[in-house]
Amino acid sequence: MILDVNAYLGHWPFRRLRYNTPEGLMKLMEKAKIDLAAVSSASSVLYRNCQEGNLELHEMVRGHGDRLIPFACINPNYAGWREDLQYCVDEMGVRGLRLHPNYHDYDLSGENATALIQEANNRGLPISVPMRMEDERQPHWLVKVPGVPVHQIIEAINQSPEATFILTHLHFQEAEQIINACPKRQNFLIETTSPYLLGDYPNHLQTLIDKMGVHRILFGSGIPFKYPQAALLKVEHLQVSEEGKKKILGENAAKFLKLDSYG
């Protein structure tokens, strides 16, 4: 079973996305042999009111619960976020949050974000943080958004030890900084999208596994922004047992998303 923890539906303002409808994404998943995907709204990243993106997502995933697992995008600086979160949990059945502090202009370790993280934790929802949505070398000329500052991640991990953070599109150097700053914390997981988390030579992903163990690495590819085959190849070429690969490709994520009770 392959579960992609970093997937999206909806629109991206700066370039055409293909396969960004439920049917399209599932076709892409079929081709790459990905069984399940944790999806959030790409539109929510730049909507002022990101809940509208969640509502769009709700419509899109309806009837596809066996393949598409909704994640809610919540902005803790925006009016009504507690009610929005409640709606996403009660009505959409979201299995996690996806937070974009860099696009939504807040500090992940600040007061509002900490309150949101607490609410998520109370509901047993992991918190996915995409460090970036695009390669910083190709910003739109009007919109230049830096990656999420690593120090915010470190502070949030330390401030909320009960919460579970899934760090996506995280570069190797950033991962090293976080591991070094939080050597005893087990409450963060690392995902495989980043092009600067090489899976060949030098094999950064192997280095992270040696440091963290296979149980804290999750497969994610960034579909439909990215070709999923790049991330799949990283896992395929790891020097770990077949059991370890199965954990990375889906079993670890299934545990954190509590998929035994899914559907």
Binding site: D135, Q138, W141, L198, D200, Y227, P228, Q229, K234
Partner: protein, 259 residues
């Protein structure tokens, strides 16, 4: 046949050619077209000569696997030209590699291009897929000096030298790849390599649609998962994928007269 049109040798201890070859074998690469850059740039004449010596040795040690690009800094006019000729004649290198030491439209590049034409040698140029006006502003992210050549400028170079064959490097190397592809629509003598860390879905399909599969060559820039992931994942015809993975580059190798 899989040919990596854009690979590098680096220096020990962070790089081991044996280890790199093991990985490329595991991924099924038959031939690697490599250059070695100097660790500090702009390169000195001594620096690029030593780097080319390492490439020549790798070619000699692995004659069936490794083809070499001669790397020079065109600002060293006579020394650069002499080194390129030596690499072609003595070491039977495939082609020329230009980096950011000197802008591609600088007149000092022209004699090197004339020599490449004489030997039917392709010229691989490090390329910034960014409009010139953003090179300065985005420098902290892409890291290129102002002397870097943009895709549009390589297109202009190709128009000025219609008998030469150029390869614009790594469409996945960061920057606005859609702009980069469109900037290469006109000249017929520029190929595009697929290398770099970027794996944005749609990149290869657009390159095939806009340029034609016959103008695209597979390259990794030593990043194998990203290099293969985008070509394997692209929604293109299998015959186009074959051309990209090896057929097109083999044509250039044969044209150069390398068996």
């Amino acid at each position: 046949m899989i040919v990596d049109a854009h690979a590098h040798l680096w220096s020990a201890p962070s790089f081991s050619l044996d280890e790199f070859l093991k990985w490329t074998t595991r991924f099924g690469i038959d031939k690697l077209c490599v250059s070695k850059l100097t660790s500090t740039r702009p390169a000195s004449a001594t620096g690029f000569t030593e780097a080319n010596r390492d490439v020549a040795k790798a070619m000699k040690d692995h004659p069936d696997r490794i083809l070499g690009y001669c790397y020079v800094n065109p600002c060293y006019e006579e020394e650069a030209l002499k080194e390129f000729r030596r690499c072609l004649e003595e070491h039977n290198m495939l082609g020329l590699k230009l980096y950011t030491d000197c802008h591609c439209l600088d007149p000092r590049v022209s004699p090197l291009i004339d020599l490449a034409i004489e030997f039917r040698a392709p010229i691989l140029i490090h390329t910034a897929h960014l409009q010139r006006r953003y090179i300065g502003a985005f420098q902290p992210f892409h890291g290129n000096p102002p002397s870097v050549s943009t895709t549009e400028e390589i297109g202009e170079l190709a128009r000025r030298h219609p008998k030469a064959t150029f390869i614009a490097a790594h469409i996945g190397g960061g920057g606005d790849w859609e702009w980069g592809i469109k900037a290469l629509r006109q000249p017929g003598n520029v190929m595009l390599d697929t290398g770099g860390t970027g794996v944005d879905l749609g990149m290869i399909e657009m390159a095939v649609r806009e340029l034609g599969a016959e103008k695209i060559v597979f390259g990794t820039d030593n990043v194998l998962c990203a290099g293969f992931g985008k070509v394997y994942g692209a929604d293109i015809r299998d015959e186009d994928r074959k051309m990209i993975l090896g057929g097109n580059m083999m044509r250039l190798i044969e044209r150069r007269g390398i068996p």
